[in-house]
């Protein structure tokens, strides 16, 4: 009800030590804002003694008194206000409000009629007129006054609020919803457009829409329009990744891991050459030059065993701890735990291609030129991949449950290095142990590599076949175990 407050500008006299009226009135307005009507009435009474020439001390005092129920006093003050300030609509508007509160609609109607003639340019006059019309049951009249207010003062939000409120009072919820939407369109920062509209939705049991409107008060009109439920979803994920996407993901992750690894060093990708090259050089120097053992062609024999073995060892070493290391990601997104060891296998395979290339160059320089048998490298390499996937995934699966095993992996690999015939030839093994020796899949594989690269022969297909079968069976077991353990890993890795 704090309309029409502008005090008439009357500059204080030269030696006036009083507060400026606006500042002084704040004292009483504060009490009013806190709805301390008793206190407000007393403050206005005090102020009236000091600033009798200002409308608020009469009109606002009457508002406070009316709230306290002292209608007669309020009426008296307002009559005084109308007499003193003929150019101020407050006396009439509040007079009508007080009369209405008293139930004296005739007086209220007379006062507002006068007000409309005297102050046709004051918006509250029209809104109060509509209010009065509604109170007396004259809906038509209420709408008429309200329309005038909206037409004459399109910048004044309360007129539009009233329009919507009229529909709400009539129980016409559809119109009310539209009218509040109109309020929001015209006055996007005006809270009632959201809050009262939310109440309309609540009334109709549409709680979700009501909440959306309340949130919109915080985020603004644009948000409301953008959040229209009709908007299509952005990217809908699958229920479960299909095989193609899974492989794509493993591939992408492995590729990016390689890139990331390279970014960590100054020489970047060059390390993938330097590292195996230096490793091979050490073995060449120690075994080929210093010890000079094994006789003719020993260095080639050594390297054709060492290169595939190193590939196996690095891959298995890397893969074995990947599930434990992937605990963060595993707890964030739904992903098959196979992802983690497989990335390690692919990542190491990527680096290994360079090493194999260098081995080929070495063999060429060594006088062992490529033959048609080299084609058989493809199945041999594939079987080795299969073996590494099985062993890598298997170890990665077991280690989360028995963490201590991770300490045994390097030792195990060391043992394998000596048990796979990297440093010695097959014929140094007694005949009766040879079959047992070849049961070691890695020893078997190295033997096939050497058959192709050194002896220029086709590999032993039957041995390779058995090996493949073994790998496939092992892999199936591992994959089945992964299926069972999928929902268990995320918990085990954090325990």
């Amino acid at each position: 009800m704090a309309e029409s407050l502008s005090p008439t500008p009357s500059p204080p006299p030269e030696h006036d030590r009083r507060l400026a009226p606006r500042d002084a009135f704040q004292w009483a307005f504060d009490a009013q804002a806190a709805r301390q009507w008793q206190q407000a009435a007393r403050r206005w009474a005090t102020l009236r003694a000091v600033y009798p020439d200002h409308p608020p001390v009469w009109i606002q005092a009457a508002v406070a008194l009316r709230e306290l129920g002292s209608h007669d006093e309020a009426r008296h003050l307002l009559a005084e206000a109308r007499a003193r300030f003929e150019t101020h609509p407050g006396g009439w508007v509040q007079g009508a409000n007080t009369a209405l509160a008293d139930g004296d609609t005739a007086l209220a109607a007379r006062l507002l009629e006068e007000a409309r003639q005297r102050f046709p340019d004051d918006p509250p006059v029209w809104v109060r007129s509509a209010h009065l019309a509604l109170a007396t049951g004259d809906r038509e009249g209420a709408l008429r006054f309200n329309r005038h207010a909206r037409d004459a003062f399109p910048e004044w939000a309360p007129a539009f609020d009233q329009h919507a409120e009229l529909a709400m009072a009539a129980g016409d919820w559809d119109s009310a919803r539209q009218r509040w939407a109109e309020v929001r369109r015209r006055f996007p920062d005006h809270p009632p457009g959201y809050r009262r509209a939310a109440e309309v939705e609540e009334r109709q049991g549409r709680h979700r829409e009501a909440r959306r409107l309340r949130l919109a008060e915080e985020h603004g009109l644009d948000w409301l329009e953008e959040s229209d439920p009709a908007e299509p979803p952005a990217v809908a994920p699958p229920r479960r990744r299909d095989g193609r996407n899974f492989i794509d993901l493993v591939w992408t992750k492995a590729r990016l891991n390689l890139k990331s690894e390279a970014n960590r060093n100054h020489l970047r990708y060059l390390w993938w050459v330097i590292d195996p090259l230096s490793y091979m050089a050490v073995f060449y120097v120690v075994f080929g030059l210093l010890l000079n053992r094994g006789g003719e062609g020993f260095v080639a024999y050594l390297l054709t065993g060492l290169v595939p073995f190193q590939w196996f060892a690095k891959t298995v070493q890397h893969a074995s701890n990947t599930i434990v290391e992937g605990r963060g990601l595993m707890n964030q997104v739904r992903i098959s735990p196979l992802f983690f060891p497989l990335v390690a296998v692919v990542q190491n395979a990527g680096k290994q291609t360079l090493v194999f290339l260098m081995l080929a160059v070495f063999l060429l320089l060594y006088g062992l030129a490529p033959t048609v048998h080299w084609l058989a490298l493809v199945p041999v390499v594939l079987v080795q991949l299969l073996l590494m996937v099985g062993v890598g995934c298997g170890l990665a699966m077991i280690i989360p449950f028995v963490r201590d095993l991770i300490n045994l992996v390097p030792t195990g690999l060391q043992f394998l290095l000596f048990a796979s015939g990297v440093f010695y030839t097959l014929d140094t093994i007694p005949e009766r142990w040879r079959d047992l020796f070849m049961v070691n899949p890695l020893a078997n594989l190295l033997h096939q590599y050497r058959l192709i690269l050194l002896d220029h022969q086709w590999p032993d297909w039957s041995q390779l076949g058995w090996l493949t079968l073994g790998c496939v069976i092992g892999l199936v077991v591992v994959i089945l175990a992964y299926r069972r353990l999928e929902g268990v890993f995320p918990r085990v890795v954090v325990e």
Partner: protein, 218 residues
């Protein structure tokens, strides 16, 4: 909220091993037990409860990340995902690579991820930083990128674990704005929050895990 049922939990229980090994009897922490409820299409369900009550654990169960120890979760044919920020970020890689990878981990196909890259870059407001390694980012910038990636994903059921406070103030407002928009689209949401006012503003229904579990059992 009488839509279709999308997820049903029946007597769910999860416990964590707190300690124990070869020579010590194991002790368990029961996160919750006997939890039964239905999640309806389009509703926003809030989970409350003190720390350790199992709110995040329940989200993981709903997302299919964790398998419950007891009871079962029935999915009536919907996609469910946990809103994960910065999933799988690698500090050595530039923002674009991380966005691509993170998006794929969240469930985008590579083609979808590629197609979304420009939107992600625009939403994160990182500009030329998108081509710099993530290790050069401030934590706020990293959070922005993470949020922007997750932002464009719309599973049928979205699970949110109090992850709305990201980046600086203006970005936080933007993120909250978008999040609230998401929550208020037709999407079904399960939300973990400690903020009463947030729950009041967003949730249709609240499940209080405090009353349900958090017991230590032998």
């Amino acid at each position: 909220m009488n839509g279709q049922i999308v997820l049903s939990a029946r007597d769910l229980g999860v416990r964590y091993k707190r300690r124990g090994g070869l020579f010590r009897p194991p002790r368990y922490h029961q996160a919750f037990r006997g939890l039964t409820f239905d999640l309806y299409q389009g509703e926003t369900l809030a989970l409350t409860g003190r720390n350790g009550a199992g709110k995040s654990t329940l989200l993981k169960v709903l997302a299919g990340i964790l398998r419950p120890d007891e009871g079962r979760l029935i999915n009536h044919g919907v996609t469910v995902s946990l809103l994960s920020l910065q999933a799988g970020f690698d500090p050595e890689l530039p923002g674009t690579d991380n966005a691509l990878l993170s998006a794929m981990l969240l469930g985008y196909t590579r083609a979808q991820a590629r197609a979304s890259l420009s939107r992600i870059a625009a939403f994160s407001e990182l500009g030329a930083f998108m081509d710099e390694p993530v290790k050069t980012y401030s934590s706020g910038m990293r959070a922005r990128l993470g949020f922007s990636v997750a932002m464009f994903l719309s599973p049928d059921v979205l699970l949110i674990d109090e992850a709305l406070a990201v980046g600086d103030r203006s970005f936080r407002e933007k993120a909250e704005r978008e999040m609230n928009k998401k929550i208020h689209s037709l999407q079904t949401v399960v939300l973990v929050s400690h903020s009463e006012s947030q729950i009041e503003k967003l949730a249709d229904r609240v499940i209080d895990l405090q009353s349900l579990g958090g017991r230590h059992v032998l």
